[in-house]
């Protein structure tokens, strides 16, 4: 039985991080780097203790990597779990160096087996689940599903002084290009990929979007290489991250980089003529067929 730490820089997935760390069989201690409200939310998500490092408004969480690493390393845990966000990873990287820990992206499950720590992780863009083990400490970035809060009690919160933050300053925060685009707020989005043969054929997809009252989105090549759709409508890892009620991917293969942008969608539909397209492994529904036949048929079925 070994205790484990989690690193929290945002409210998302705190309960899931806790649950993953709980796999080591012992207590779970959370270090929260952010405002008091984040510490309060974390305390309610299931860890046994919360250490809170308050950030000043002009300093990002990464500025506190040094003090956080010293605090965790002094406790010598066998496992540390962080979100795979830019901030969480930087903090975890410093912790790993201090602990002399192995670093494992894609962590899904942790367990202790004798003197070994066993980690199940997603590898190769999630195509494979690999089990790895080590006798030393591990730091992993969680890549699993979200989880519900454990129990109903709240952990105690201890504020920890961190006076020696690194010289990193947030100078400006402004809405990103396209942040106010309708696609971000749309309940339904119809997105188009390289399956479309000509720019003029966008009208076919627009017709479906009109019937559904949907916004148009696209995969990266359609906006970046072809320039057929405005860049602020590109959905994916480095594009828009959207959470519509319904997302219809037309002629999109469904690469992980694209699907990362629709992780928050309630229902995902894929339309592709390739039955082996990756979209059918992550979508809820699909139609295998030529989009030039399927999209008009879908319009008709929707009673245009």
């Amino acid at each position: 039985m070994s205790h484990a730490w989690i690193i929290v820089t945002e409210e998302k997935q705190v309960a899931a991080l806790t649950l993953a760390a709980r796999g080591m069989g012992g207590r779970v201690i959370a270090v929260v780097v952010g405002p008091r409200a984040l510490a309060d939310a974390t305390a309610a998500a299931g860890p046994d203790e919360v250490k809170w490092v308050e950030t000043s408004q002009d300093r990002p969480p990464e500025a506190y990597a040094g003090p956080v690493a010293r605090m965790i390393a002094a406790d010598a845990p066998r496992a540390v779990v962080a979100n795979a966000t830019a901030e969480g990873r930087v903090l975890a990287g410093m912790v790993a160096a201090r602990l002399g820990a192995a670093v494992i992206p894609g962590g899904l499950k942790l367990s202790a087996s004798g003197d070994k720590t066993v980690v199940e992780r997603a590898d190769l863009d999630g195509k494979v689940i690999e089990t790895v083990e080590t006798t030393g400490p591990v730091v992993t970035f969680y890549a699993g599903d979200d989880a519900a809060n454990e129990g109903s009690s709240c952990a105690s919160i201890e504020q920890v002084a961190a006076d020696d933050a690194a010289d990193i300053k947030v100078e400006r925060v402004e809405p990103a290009a396209g942040a106010d685009a309708g696609i971000n707020k749309a309940a339904v989005v119809v997105s188009v990929g390289r399956g479309l043969k000509r720019k003029d054929d966008l009208e076919i997809v627009r017709g479906l979007a009109d019937v559904l009252g949907a916004e148009i989105g696209c995969s990266m090549p359609v906006a970046d290489d072809l320039g057929w759709v405005e860049k602020e409508r590109y959905v994916g890892r480095s594009g828009q991250h959207i959470a519509p009620r319904l997302y219809i991917a037309v002629g999109i293969q469904g690469a992980p980089q694209h699907m990362e942008g629709v992780r928050g969608a309630k229902v995902v539909v894929g339309i592709n003529n390739d039955p082996d397209a990756a979209i059918f492994k992550s979508a809820d529904y699909g139609i295998v067929g030529d989009l030039y036949e399927v999209v008009p048929a879908l319009r008709a079925a929707l009673g245009e």
């Binding site: 410093m94 670093v103 080590t134 947030v170 970046d224 480095s238 229902v267 699909g286």
Partner: protein, 242 residues
């Protein structure tokens, strides 16, 4: 600022074939340029300005990649193996960075597949770091980066030394031609070994099993487009999303 651009430091996940039993066959075990390497190089050039920009690569990939893209000198740790532990890979890169005198900034692609390497590198160097960076520049003696965070864009300034992990927003558009490739061959590559940089190659992680993920495959309709569309619409109405 004297800048090191780290490139070709990992295998490309697309070179791996996953068999039906979940085992993995690496058809090309060589280190290749990652999808973020070019964006990292552009950021490194912007940071270095007129100062030195040194390429650093590990493993058996072609080290001339950066030299064909305007970098004038490179260091290659030729016997570095692929390691599962991202911190062990970072330790090799950190050891090589320490061999290069007076480095202010290390720029590296923020690979999603090997997301632990850039941040472990910063930890091992004991330098601050920022990740998921879109672009970078230098002004008033500080590195200024812009990155997307949710629906916002942050401008962050950092004092050197620092590690900058860059995420590509789009792929490289202008691949170097023959002229640049030939010029690259004349540029110096300092070849080092793990022993020379004082790095080990022990992978602290043992892989004990691989399997295919349990996926909830989509409910797929096929055949006559009209019938398939009608079935889909009925299903979506049942879900309450139409």
């Amino acid at each position: 600022m004297k800048t090191v651009i780290v490139y070709k430091w990992a295998r490309n996940a697309e070179d791996a074939a996953v068999r039906s039993d979940g085992s993995v066959d690496w058809r090309n075990a060589k280190m290749t340029a990652g999808e973020d390497d070019f964006a990292a190089l552009e950021a490194a050039k912007a940071i270095a300005g007129d100062d030195d920009l040194v390429g650093l690569t590990i493993g058996d990939g072609d080290a001339s990649w950066a030299l064909a893209r305007g970098v004038l000198q490179a260091v290659s740790v030729t016997d570095a193996p692929h390691l599962t532990d991202n911190a062990s890979t970072a330790a090799i890169i950190a050891a090589a960075v320490r061999q290069i005198e007076g480095v202010d900034v290390v720029v590296i692609g923020d690979s999603e597949e090997y997301a632990g390497v850039p941040v472990a590198l910063a930890g091992l160097l004991g330098w601050p770091a920022v990740a998921h960076v879109g672009s970078a520049a230098v002004s008033d003696g500080r590195v200024r980066i812009i990155r997307k965070q949710g629906r916002n864009e942050q401008t962050i300034s950092i004092a050197a030394p620092v590690v900058i992990a860059v995420s590509a927003a789009s792929p490289e558009k202008n691949i170097p031609g023959m002229k640049e490739q030939l010029a690259a061959r004349k540029r110096p590559i300092t070849k080092l070994t793990l022993a020379a940089v004082g790095a080990g190659c022990d992978d602290r992680l043992s892989s004990t099993a691989t399997k295919l993920p349990e996926t909830t495959a989509a409910r797929v309709f096929a055949g006559d487009p009209a019938a398939a569309a009608a079935q889909l619409v009925a299903a979506l109405r049942g879900e309450g999303v139409l």
